[in-house]
Assembly symmetry: D2
Homo-oligomer: 153 residues x 4
């Protein structure tokens, strides 16, 4: 059976608190055997990749450049696209669920694409947009994702 995939989106320059949240989410996700999809670069993307990597999980980075070596060091696998910012659509396209942590306009473009594609989006310390479920902490995030996944079965 195919694994659950969670797209994690967020900023290049998060606060220490948001970096830690993304890192802890990566660890939890790996423990639950969820694959993580992210943009493959720094900040929240690096934090979640590091968490997944340390917990022995799988994290795939979908990169803006043409160089598949341009991702962060924690990725299990990287995919170069040469699409620049348009690769944001691919990051959310490849998840069953989308989690936003921190983030600016790049993250907002990903939230928009996720909603266009009818994906469920959770926001932790990120944008507050109609149709996006705000959660207050990591525990609520994990519980909401599990409830959502269970409801799909």
């Amino acid at each position: 059976m195919k694994k659950i995939r969670i797209s994690v989106i967020g900023g290049h320059a998060p606060s220490d608190e948001c970096y830690e949240l993304a890192y802890q989410f990566g660890k939890k996700a790996a423990e639950k055997d969820w694959q993580i999809i992210c943009g493959g670069l720094g900040g929240v993307m690096e934090a979640v990749s590091k968490g997944v990597s340390e917990a022995g999980g799988e994290v795939i980075g979908i990169l803006p450049s043409e160089d598949f070596h341009s991702g962060n060091q924690y990725l299990t696998f990287s995919v170069a696209t040469g699409l620049g910012w348009m690769r944001n659509a691919l990051v959310v396209m490849n998840g069953d669920v989308v989690v936003a942590i921190d983030g600016s306009y790049g993250t907002l473009s990903e939230i928009s694409y996720a909603k266009i594609m009818n994906k469920k989006v959770f926001s932790l310390s990120s944008w507050d947009i109609d149709g996006v479920k705000k959660v207050k902490d990591l525990e609520e995030l994990i519980r909401e994702i599990e409830d959502f996944l269970n409801a799909q079965l």
Copy 2:
């Protein structure tokens, strides 16, 4: 000298009032010799194209499909992309200024890309997002665009 280009973004299914606003904006823009760039389809895209066309201006549609005949009937020129929703980035990439009228998540993705690309964005009856200038009516919109363009000279 190259003409000023205004990207107009907005919903597929606007209210009558927003359709009229986009149509009137198209007429005004053509009178000022601004080229209009849009997504080439229906709703706000059709309304602005119709306004431009009736006033003898130029409107270019950047289409999601691979078929360059798939645009609305008022376009001066259409460009097929085969990119689906990713063509949204191209719509704002090709304007000096971005105007949002009405719209849902597709429009939000375009606002996000416009901000990523450091474009000036005006919102008329559309999303209220940090970094986007809200205007209350057509007169204020035209005046704000002119002020912005004059400040660039």
Copy 3:
């Protein structure tokens, strides 16, 4: 009625002879009221744009970069894509017929996409590929295009 569109593809660094062929083709195409679509940069793209421009026709450049000012000076209109070499697909997607003059692997990618999209492709001093019609000079090229277009009516 919409105008006939001809996509012209070819090399960045053509021989003087091929530059002249592209330039003369641009002039002829403008006289016949065909719109020219090209990649918007130098070499064969510049040559055909110059010919069209001098003859008062219309030539649209579909550019690889995100900057719509990055095209050659002869373009009637430019479209930025930010797609890099992937914009090659858009160049042929937007023509009714494709003409290759000179060219290397970029041109070969365009010929490939044209054939995938079931477009008619003419080759003048360019690649000799199954399914592509070789022509020996400008007169034969023009005649073959006209025969092809007449057969579509």
Copy 4:
């Protein structure tokens, strides 16, 4: 250390002989611990995926559609792109070396992109293009790839 990646490109409807070649190449590649990148669909893509899968290796499919479930059943991991035929550029962008087996114009577009990106391309029962190394059988293919990789060290 990151694994060697081989992009395998080829036709949707290969002869039985070419299907078998791709399948056997997949098995050999997995034994050598090379990751395989392919277009994720049928024909040569399926054959190589099946070979890799049976030999316990890793094969990544880069898909044209927006649906990451649309790949063949043998993929270790799939990446949806929504790019249609433009995803061909991504298939070759993500390999250290490119192997063409059988194939038509889609494969030719991939060979073109591989050459634009200065990738080494091997052709087995596929296109005969300047700059592409023809090989006559599986043994020569494996030997040539190994010689090429060794020369990079």
